[in-house]
């Protein structure tokens, strides 16, 4: 039992952490009323999804996919999830910035950051 735990692969730990991070971020988004706290929850979810994708790309004993010699026996990790996450982080910054500018505009119009005050479309 204990021996099994010691042999847990690295990527399993990171995968489970990513899933827990997504759950924490979702809880924060659902339970808070302040818009900026909702955006913080969104960034946490973002980080969790990135961790899951990087963990899926990992191979046992893999090296970073940067070729140094002509050795054919080295195992390289999957470069495709790395490339996807790379662009996704930059886009995440853009999305966060645009959500924060919406928050600034809402505060300018309503003098409040609570989502309970945005009741025009409520029915």
């Amino acid at each position: 039992m204990f021996q099994d735990l010691l042999n847990t692969p690295l990527s399993t730990v990171v995968l489970i952490t990513g899933f827990i991070l997504v759950l924490i971020g979702l809880w924060g988004m659902l339970m808070h009323k302040n818009i900026i706290r909702i955006i913080v929850g969104f960034t946490l979810m973002d980080t969790g999804i990135h961790m899951v994708m990087v963990a899926i790309g990992y191979l046992t004993g893999g090296k970073a996919p940067i070729i140094e010699g002509a050795n054919k026996n080295i195992v390289y990790v999957d470069p495709v999830p790395s490339a996807l996450v790379l662009t996704s982080i930059v886009i995440g910054l853009g999305i966060t910035a645009i959500m924060l500018s919406y928050a600034i505009q809402i505060h300018k119009a309503k003098k409040s950051l609570s989502i309970d005050d945005c009741a025009e479309m409520k029915w």
């Binding site: 995968l15 759950l23 809880w27 191979l59 940067i66 662009t87 910035a97």
Partner: protein, 231 residues
């Protein structure tokens, strides 16, 4: 109370879904077919040592073009949202004109050129070492962030940033179209010769495209920061 119950219910459903994925997960032992092709053929086909770079710039180059477009649209949307109306009722409070402290000022003069140089190093060496256009652009934008923090009363030349951005964006598309005529397809990097593997001037068009992406990302993120400060 009811809200908390429904939130917990939604979380529970998502958690069941994740549990199913996580319990069946086993660490992979070998690459999938596409990745196998990239790892085996990539270095001899494209001449870039960093495989992530060759995937980002050439094999999935069209995705990167779309990604840069998304970033441009988000920067334009921020500019539209945070523009200052002409009949603004309460203008932003006047900042005091006192200079910032001695330590920050000295550190700014020492570090600002170094950070810019490091950003340029990262995106010029994108095909050899970890790094590339997106990372280098983010480092350059961090240097601009140091400028904004150390000189609170100065502003950038937003027109210059806009010119750099539009120049690099259109040059990216034009260079991509050049590959359509001189090489295999859109955004193919074999227009220039591949050169010696592992040297700075190698891998055909990859360094050129990454320099353009780096300039574009750096200019866009700097203009986003400036707009946030001046809104």
């Amino acid at each position: 109370m009811l809200k908390k119950f429904f939130a917990a219910l939604a979380l529970f459903i998502v958690a069941i879904m994740f549990y199913d994925i996580a319990s069946n997960y086993q660490e992979r032992q070998q690459l999938s077919g596409v990745a196998q092709y990239y790892v085996e053929k990539g270095p001899s086909e494209l001449g870039a040592a960093n495989l992530v770079t060759s995937v980002v710039v050439t094999y999935r180059g069209l995705d990167t073009l779309g990604e840069v477009t998304v970033l441009f649209i988000s920067a334009a949307g921020i500019g539209l949202l945070l523009r200052r109306q002409r009949d603004d009722k309460d203008p932003s409070p006047q900042k005091d004109n006192a200079p910032c402290s001695e330590i920050v000022d000295t550190a700014f003069h020492l570090l600002f050129p170094m950070i810019l140089l490091f950003g340029i190093y990262i995106f010029v060496n994108g095909h050899l070492t970890p790094g590339g256009g997106f990372q280098g652009g983010a480092v350059i934008a961090s240097g601009m962030m140091l400028y904004l923090l150390a000189k609170p009363n100065n502003t950038f030349n937003l027109q210059l940033l806009k010119k750099i951005e539009s120049f690099s964006g259109s040059a990216y598309v034009l260079i991509g179209a050049l590959g359509l005529f001189l090489a295999g397809g859109f955004l193919d990097n074999r227009v220039l010769s591949l050169g010696e593997f592992g040297s700075l001037f190698s891998a055909g068009l990859i360094p050129v495209i990454y320099v353009l992406i780096g300039l574009k990302v750096g200019a866009e993120l700097s203009s986003v920061l400036t707009k946030f400060r001046d809104s």
